[in-house]
């Protein structure tokens, strides 16, 4: 074991700088709180007007969105109407809900009734869903105010939000760098103070990796915890929605509001919403935190230094660090890039120009399909459709898709063994800090490696989250990933809250 004290000092000094920067309320009117929890509290108690909260955030968008491009669409008019309804409710003595007046940004792959939903793809041009995703309904029912649709890698395929048909989303920490992806717009929206909360989707790390790169909290809950109804599918057996927030408590608050069984999603777990806020103060005393001894290599030293600091902080807080092995984890990326494209090749087949979205006319139906899909999809989407189609083809199924499913089972088995020894596992979220725009655009494999630590949990269906834990190279944020077994959100949030407290205790004011 490394000398604890010495590491701690350096670690916490760096994190202090970063925390101070992150929470400086320069971007928001001084009387508007920065967290969803405090906003909802103020609006519900009548000390704060939802319309004022909204205007402050719209002003922030007006000031910085030009440099960041977090949004495909800002729905200011609809948001103003929603905020006014929240205020009217409060005035009439009705409780608007736990997210009363909280501005919220939605990844542009979840359906919003009457509002364009593009998946950052040309192929959905002009399409307005006739229905709201379950998550969108639940947020509205809790009093949240949707302010817009955020940019993403087309159909959530990518790790940098550079694969968007509508342009790159830049990292608010350093606008020459990527925001991560695919939920880069949602991560950037929170990091830039456009909204205290945003919702993303995570198929192989698409919430956690951009959260890490933008220095915010991002949670992928257990598969089946949050309804996928209305989430435009990328890879159905892996997709899961979750929140971005500036602190751990806000993510807990949002998850309590959006989780719980939905009869419209057959893969939704029949259970009550998660109960998380009550565990945040419980501490990690006696918890076993697993270190994966055979973690696939490749993380930058500045990133691994932060991981070690996190282990140390949890140890200080009373947890025990235990070694676990994940021998199959090194195959996860390969398995993922067969399973996810296979499902995507089927999920994206419906974009055929027949019923909605783009159509490029041609001499007959097949030619129309081909012309429409050629013009409508970007390079990465086409690459994955072809990969997936190939992996499922007669004669190749067993060697590719079938084998990938076996690997998926082996990884689940690895996790099951690891969780007999540990309550949670800790890894880096991303092997690297935010990289310069364009650096990996022409190298798909290098891009795919961004998700090497996040993909295994999607394959197992487990929950995982990224918490900001100091900075690495160039003073850029580093995220630590907490992994937990199925429905282990409570223990995961205990650990996340503990890591957050350890930062605050050493000087980073929240």
């Amino acid at each position: 074991m490394r000398p604890l004290l010495k590491t701690d000092v350096s670690v916490f000094r760096r994190s202090l700088d970063w925390t101070a920067e992150m929470t400086t309320p320069t971007n928001i009117h001084s009387n508007i709180p920065t967290t969803a929890f405090a906003i909802a509290d103020g609006v519900r108690s009548g000390t704060l007007k939802a319309v004022d909260v909204l205007e402050a955030h719209l002003a922030q968008i007006a000031a910085r969105e030009g440099d960041i491009h977090a949004f495909n669409l800002v729905t200011a008019d609809e948001a103003r109407a929603a905020a006014a309804r929240v205020d009217a409710d409060v005035a009439a003595g009705r409780d608007p809900g736990v997210l009363a007046g909280v501005p919220i940004a939605l990844k542009d792959n979840m359906c919003t009734r009457g509002i364009p939903t593009t998946c950052s793809s040309k192929i959905l041009e002009g399409w307005r869903p006739p229905y709201d995703a379950t998550v969108v309904q639940r947020l509205a029912a809790a009093g949240a105010v949707a302010i817009g649709k955020t940019n993403l890698d087309e159909f959530a395929m990518g790790s940098s939000t550079e694969n968007s048909a509508f342009g790159v989303t830049y990292n608010p920490r350093d606008t020459s760098r990527v925001s991560g992806g695919s939920s880069g717009g949602s991560a950037a929206a929170v990091a830039a103070g456009f909204s205290p909360i945003s919702i993303g989707s995570d198929t192989g790390g698409s919430i956690r990796q951009p959260a890490a790169l933008c220095g915010v909290v991002g949670v992928k809950p257990t598969y089946g915890t949050v309804s996928r109804y209305g989430l435009v599918a990328y890879a159905s057996s892996l997709d899961q929605m979750g929140p971005f927030s500036t602190d751990v408590r806000d993510s807990a608050l949002v998850l309590e509001a959006i989780s719980g069984h939905d009869p419209m999603d057959s893969t939704s777990i029949p259970q009550a919403p998660l109960s998380l806020l009550n565990v945040l103060s419980q501490g990690v005393e006696g918890l076993r935190v697993g270190r994966i001894t055979d973690l696939p290599g490749g993380a930058d030293p500045d990133v691994t230094a932060r991981l070690e600091a996190a282990f140390d902080a949890l140890k200080v807080a009373g947890a025990t660090i235990v070694d676990v092995e994940m021998p199959s984890m090194k195959y996860a990326l390969t398995a993922y890039y067969l399973i996810a494209p296979a499902e995507a090749s089927s999920n994206l087949a419906r974009y055929d120009g027949v019923r909605y979205g783009m159509r490029v006319n041609a001499s007959d139906t097949n030619a129309m399909y081909s012309a429409t899909r050629t013009a409508g999809f970007g390079e990465e989407v086409k690459r994955r459709i072809m990969l997936g189609t190939y992996a499922l083809s007669a004669g190749y199924y067993d060697a590719y898709y079938g084998k990938a499913l076996k690997v998926r089972r082996l990884i689940s088995d690895d996790f099951a063994r690891a969780y007999t020894k540990a309550d949670v596992l800790l890894t880096p979220t991303s092997p690297i800090v935010a990289f310069p725009v364009g650096e990996k655009s022409d190298d798909p494999l290098a891009m795919y490696l961004c998700d090497i630590y996040t993909i295994p949990t999607n394959l197992a269906g487990h929950p995982a989250m990224s918490v900001p834990f100091g900075t690495g190279a160039h003073g850029l944020p580093v995220g630590v990933q907490i992994l937990a077994p199925t429905l282990g959100e409570q223990v995961m949030f205990k650990v996340a809250a503990s890591l957050e407290r350890s930062m605050i205790a050493t000087g980073g004011a929240k």
Binding site: Y229, A349, L392
Partner: protein, 499 residues
């Protein structure tokens, strides 16, 4: 191309088919027919297989649609419990095992297939390994009966033959998209067009009996594809072709027979059969190549990730089994036992198919002769449907009069016609109003004696053994009695007097 052989003459260019009478072992030109049927049946659920839109035929196009039906981005399927129950009823009625099952995606592009994949059961269907017993007793194996969703319906405007290729534009009605189907895959145990017709007819009755479907081939709620091959007895199975677009039981027999003959002609000419899907054309009475095996889509089946495995528990399966109604075969046996008529004879087949066997039994319960009831219902109740308007007691009263000698069979028919026309009636009153009085034996005998005296020549011929002469005598007696004489009584009297 012409092919002739003992009793069979087949000219493809003229499309004339002559079949030699066969003895039940169906042979064409020395070839056996091997046929298996795949029957798609739309389930009679209130809503669709995976969404809450109504499952209704014949309404305005695109009125029963929703995000799931249209395959809109983000929409997810949720399995209809009633569809599962109806599928289990079908499986259990076909003697299948109900087993844990899963859903797969069958991927292919077609404009009326909104998701570009069909959700269907693949390697783990809900029902497996059953059979259907034809009225004559032969069992046709049922490999599986699985759940899947229907497609929308395309109408291709312009071009030729209603095909998408070459049409000016196409209209799509998604009301049918997502309607629950069960596909019943029969084993290739069918050996003649007649067996195929019997199989489909029997299957249809079972489906209606268990309430799973209205099973109307004309409306498309029951669709039948036939896999046809031929072989010399004792040879391995031949290459098969799948025949689609067969829209009636009658067409099914014709299509199978045409296809078998087409294959035989090719084989006799030393050619090979290509495995392909063929389209039955009702107007020219032929099958035409739709696509060959090489052109077949690679459906890239994989487990549907939006659904979870379907594991009906044993209690549910048992409850469905216990609630199954009496099936057509049992109904025929019951009627056969009650009447002495053969279970696969015309009268019982017809009456059970119409669903009037309960009615016949009720007439029997009301004290009438069930065998007479069977005959009358078969003859006079063709328009009455499964629930005749005539009260069973009214028909029973009429039959009791008839069998009691108070009505001749001719009078009985007249009275019955009136009862049927009025939806019921008092047979005694009707008979009285028509002046139908049973003629007593002495009055009849007087008429018989009178006719014998008048028709001496016919009488002597009759006594000499000329049966034809009897007709003349009976006719004259009936005329003299003004139709009141009972034919049976007359012949009995004539026979007695002949000595």
């Amino acid at each position: 191309m012409t092919n002739t052989d003992s009793g069979i003459q087949y000219d493809m260019s003229k499309n004339e088919i002559k079949v030699a009478p066969n003895d039940g072992s169906y042979m064409l030109d020395g070839y056996e027919l091997v046929c298996g049927l795949e029957v798609h049946v739309e389930l009679a659920t209130a809503t669709k297989l995976f969404s809450a839109s109504a499952n209704r035929f014949g309404d305005e196009p695109n009125t029963h649609i929703d995000p799931v039906t249209l395959g809109l981005p983000g929409a997810l399927p949720v399995l209809n419990r009633q569809a599962v129950e109806l599928a289990m009823r079908i499986g259990l009625a076909l003697n299948c095992s109900v087993q844990p099952s899963t859903f797969h995606r069958k991927n292919y592009f077609y404009p009326d297939m909104p998701k570009a994949y069909q959700i269907s059961q693949y390697d783990q269907p809900i029902n497996v390994d059953g059979w259907l017993e034809l009225p004559g007793g032969k069992k046709i194996g049922v490999e599986r009966a699985h759940l899947e969703e229907d497609t929308g319906k395309s109408t291709h405007v312009g071009g030729t033959g209603g095909r998408i290729h070459g049409s000016d534009y196409s209209l799509i009605d998604f009301n049918r998209a997502g309607v629950p189907l069960v596909e019943i895959v029969g084993r290739p145990d069918i050996a003649s067009p007649e067996e195929a017709r019997q199989y489909v007819t029997e299957l249809r009755q079972i489906l209606v009996a268990v309430g799973a479907s209205d099973a109307k081939m004309e409306e498309g709620s029951m669709r039948c594809d036939a896999n046809v091959s031929v072989r010399k007895p004792g040879s391995p199975l031949g290459i098969r072709c799948e025949i689609k677009n067969v829209n009636s039981v009658r067409s099914l027999g014709r299509a199978i027979e045409y296809e078998a003959r087409r294959q035989i002609v090719l084989l006799e000419a030393g050619e090979k059969i290509r495995q392909e899907t063929r389209h039955w054309d009702e107007t020219d009475g032929r099958t035409h190549t739709l696509r060959s095996k090489e052109d077949a889509d690679d459906y890239r089946y994989f487990l549907e990730p939006d659904l979870v495995p379907l594991n009906p528990d044993q209690a549910w399966i048992d409850a469905v089994r216990a609630a199954l109604p009496m099936l057509p075969r049992e109904r025929r046996l019951r009627l056969s036992q009650a009447t002495g008529a053969p279970a696969d004879g015309e009268a019982i087949m017809v009456v059970v198919e119409r669903g009037q066997d309960d009615y016949v039994m009720a007439v029997g319960d009301a004290g009438a002769d069930v065998a007479r009831a069977l005959v009358h219902v078969k003859e006079a109740f063709a328009e009455q449907g499964a629930s005749p308007t005539v009260p069973a007691t009214d028909l029973a009263q009429m039959i009791i009069m008839e069998t009691g000698g108070k009505l001749t069979s001719t009078q009985a028919k007249t009275v019955l016609a009136e009862i049927v026309a009025n939806g019921g009636g008092d047979a005694v009153a009707i008979a009285a109003a028509k002046g139908f009085e049973a003629m007593d034996n002495s009055a009849l005998e007087a008429i018989v004696d009178q006719v014998i005296a008048e028709q001496a020549e016919a009488w002597s011929k009759y006594c000499g053994g000329e049966q034809k002469a009897m007709g003349a005598l009976v006719g004259a007696i009936m005329k003299a009695s003004q139709g009141k004489a009972d034919g049976k009584a007359v012949t009995a009297l004539l026979l007695a007097k002949k000595g």
